[in-house]
């Protein structure tokens, strides 16, 4: 991802009021991490598993934070259990930021990623997670705010999935 895209993504998260983010780093969007760390507005919490990352984010949301959870496209598989039980069953909003490895527009696609990537959206749909795929920076800030508002309004996780220009 070009540095300017990372800066725009961080700006969009802050503009949407996100102040707490759990994560497992991956390769497409990870440039946001040092920017967020340097900025300090968003409290960053690394997790050992995406399943754990969802639960920590949910706890912070119940405690008054506006939360995001950043993961790669394997994350929805690993976290399906906590997305369903804590995210949907209890009803806690979490903005999911997913690096879409293995997607059609993944510029670094390979045999390692494609099987996982191609089944990720059907997995989100199976879980009933609303999502939007973002492939360029046009209207990025609005997309983030829209997804955050959908998540808050539904009291459920909602996903922004980053491919194309974000997956270089």
């Amino acid at each position: 991802m070009e540095p300017i895209l990372a800066e725009k993504l961080v700006h969009g998260l802050k503009a949407a009021g996100i102040d707490f983010m759990t994560y497992l780093p991956e390769s497409r969007l990870s440039q946001i991490l040092p920017l967020l760390r340097e900025d300090g507005t968003v409290q960053l919490v690394g997790a050992a598993s995406e399943q754990e990352a969802i639960t920590i984010a949910a706890g912070a949301a119940l405690g008054g934070k506006r939360v995001a959870c950043y993961m790669e496209s394997t994350g929805p598989y690993v976290s399906a259990y906590s997305l369903l039980t804590v995210g949907k069953q209890m009803g806690v909003p979490i903005l999911l930021l997913i690096g879409f490895l293995g997607s059609f527009a993944d510029q670094r696609n390979s045999f390692l990623y494609v099987t996982i990537g191609m089944r990720m959206i059907p997995t989100l749909e199976g879980l009933g997670i609303e999502y939007r795929v973002v492939e360029d920076a046009e209207n990025l800030e609005r997309h983030i705010r829209d997804a955050q508002r959908v998540s808050d309004s539904m009291r459920q996780p909602a996903a922004l999935i980053f491919s194309g220009e974000f997956a270089r």
Binding site: G17, F20, T22, Q43, V45, G46, A47, A48, S49, Q51, E52, I54, T55, I56, A57, A58, G59, A60, A61, L62, G63, G64, K65, R66, V67, Y81, S82, T85, V86, Q89, M90, G91, V92, P93, S151, D152, S153, R155
Partner: protein, 201 residues
């Protein structure tokens, strides 16, 4: 020692603590013993309560967060322990009521802790310095109760006999959403904040 003896000692000490229970027998016993405590939250499935507790403790660093876990639930989410050890949250206590069986299986299938697995040792190796195992009520009073009212990160493995008392207690008629809203409104009132997602009209 049985689990209920520990919970009975904890209940009178409740003030403004936030108490999360995973989906195991202790949630029925605890919510029966302390039904009026507005800081109670049921985390509906096994393996999620410690993570939610960490998030709450991070969001509200001045509030004591207590998580009631079982051995089966902890074994389902062992990835929590390294995160817990590295975060070293000073306002979090995790009680693991380790009866060495999956009581919910109705046939008391043994868990790994009935074999060679030692949760305290895993916790210590994960960086949780204040991890202890207690085997009796006196041990719980000495090492467990400070985690209810004191400071620091506490990880207390309570070796308990399997007890089926919870099956005699009527199940709470409160669902996850009602627990959540009651809990969040309690936080709003006691913290003087608006939790963003429930503040939307």
């Amino acid at each position: 020692m049985i689990r209920r003896e520990c919970l009975e000692l904890m209940a009178p000490l409740m003030t403004d603590q936030l108490v999360l229970s995973s989906q195991s027998g202790q949630r029925i016993e605890w919510f029966h013993l302390a039904p009026q405590h507005e800081g109670n939250l049921l985390v509906g499935m096994m393996g999620c309560a410690t993570g939610v507790g960490m998030g709450l403790a991070l969001a509200l660093p001045h509030r004591r967060v207590i998580v009631l876990e079982s051995d089966g639930s902890v074994l389902l989410s062992l990835f929590n322990l390294p995160t817990l050890g590295n975060l070293n949250l000073s306002n979090l206590t995790v009680f693991v009521f380790d009866n060495e069986v999956y009581s919910g299986s109705t046939m008391s299938e043994p868990t790994a802790t009935a074999g060679k697995t030692d949760l305290e040792a895993i916790a210590r190796a994960s960086g949780i310095e204040n991890a202890v195992t207690v085997h009796d009520v006196e041990g719980f009073k000495e090492h467990g109760l400070p985690g209810v009212t004191g400071e620091g990160l506490h990880y207390v493995v309570c070796k308990v006999e399997e007890s089926l008392i919870h099956r005699e207690i009527p199940r709470p008629n409160v669902d996850l959403a009602e627990y959540k809203y009651r809990f969040v409104r309690y936080i709003e009132r006691t913290e003087g904040i608006t939790v963003p997602f429930v503040g939307l009209g």
